[in-house]
């Protein structure tokens, strides 16, 4: 299935529901294709994605908007981990 989607040129964020991150400088992050928030504080945001967990560490983090489709995070972003 993965090979078929790849052969058809379908991007992985559509076929695999892979997390899509758009980072603007070090201050803004937009995340799509996530399942939910596991943990949230002003220095850490842990998101559950389909295939992995995503950890965003930083300072003064706050969620600018939160909806089912996308999440917009602002603050000083220092690290992004996948595990």
């Amino acid at each position: 299935m993965k090979k078929l989607a790849s052969a058809m040129g379908i991007p992985e964020d559509l076929s695999e529901k892979a997390a899509l991150l758009e980072l603007t400088g070090q201050n803004a992050l937009r995340v799509e294709n996530y399942l939910g928030i596991i943990e949230y504080s002003d220095s850490r945001l842990l998101l559950q994605c389909k295939n992995c967990r995503l950890e965003i560490c930083g300072q003064h983090l706050f969620i600018e908007s939160y909806a089912r489709e996308e999440l917009q995070l602002r603050g000083w972003i220092e690290q992004i981990h996948y595990f």
Partner: protein
Amino acid sequence: MCGGSYERFLNLCANHRIFLWDICPVQKGYEANIYLQDFFSLKPLAAKCRTRIRVCRKCGLPFFLNRHRKRKVFAAGLFACGFFIFFLSCFVWNISIEGNTSISRPVMMEYLMQQNIGYGTLKRTVDCKQLAAGLRNDFPDLIWVSVKLSGTELAINVKEHIDADMHAAQKVPFASDLVAEEDGTIVKMITREGMPLVGEGDSIAAGDVLVSGEMAITDDSENIVSYRYCTADADIYIKTTLQYHDEFPLLHDTAEYTGKKRYGFYIKLFGKYLGADLGIDTFETADIIGKEHQLCLLEDFYLPFSAGILQANEYRITAKAYTKEEASALAEANLQKFLTENEEKGVQIFENDVRIEISATACQADGVITVIKKTGRTVRTEKTDLQQEGTNE
């Protein structure tokens, strides 16, 4: 929100399509913004997660109105203000005229006053199309006129004839000759239409017909059988002379600013001035510079309230005499200005024979300037009394 599982609560909100924004962690929970209609559907979600919700602040028009529901006078004032602005929006409070150069703003304003259009005119009484047509008819120099009402502003845009040749080159609807406007000698002549009666090198006098719009048609024995009429058209350049005279006394008055300034302020309401001149008229002689600003709510929503500032700069008039060098330089500058003005009109300066003489009391510049200029004035052709055939009038 506090207590229970916050993250689960946030995820439930997202899954139930409840939009949250500006979610910020605080000491014992989170603070977030939510729409009023979504707030009422939070209760079952909060119960499921054992989360408690507390309203910190209410923003928006419904809450504002509810909070100020007892302030009836304030509401009445707001309503009266809105009505007053609506009332003012029915009138013209600013007239902008753009594109005019030879027709000055006061002339245009006087014309508008004659048409009963001015400051404070009811907007619905202004017929833009009729006004534009009237302007085009009454000012022949206007080749394009646009009138529009925008907000409380009447915007008039015009375009004038600025090129004299353009005016001259217009086709006249009748047979015409070109006649000389002044005496001179023809140096160049290109005829496009009509019968040339003179040639290069000929001396002409003012009023002489240079190109005739009447062309004789002859038979084989050279008898005139008919006349063909046309609009004579030619470029005729003549060498002619211009008399130049300039004279000014050496003793003259000059204004010297003392450096003293006074300021005055005024307010203009509905065209009436309410001023505090603050002794601005106490100077015997002064230049007064004014700056006015009209209140404008939006780009073109002018209101009949203006405020202005006046600045009076005192000066003293003292009598001075030009030195010979100064007088000579001034006379030379005046001559150069005269020559430049003529060159801007398309006149070519061929020879300049002006002498500057300075006496004990005055400076005088006299002389003759030889120029090459275009000539030819259109006049109606006097038709010869003969049976005419093939006219192209």
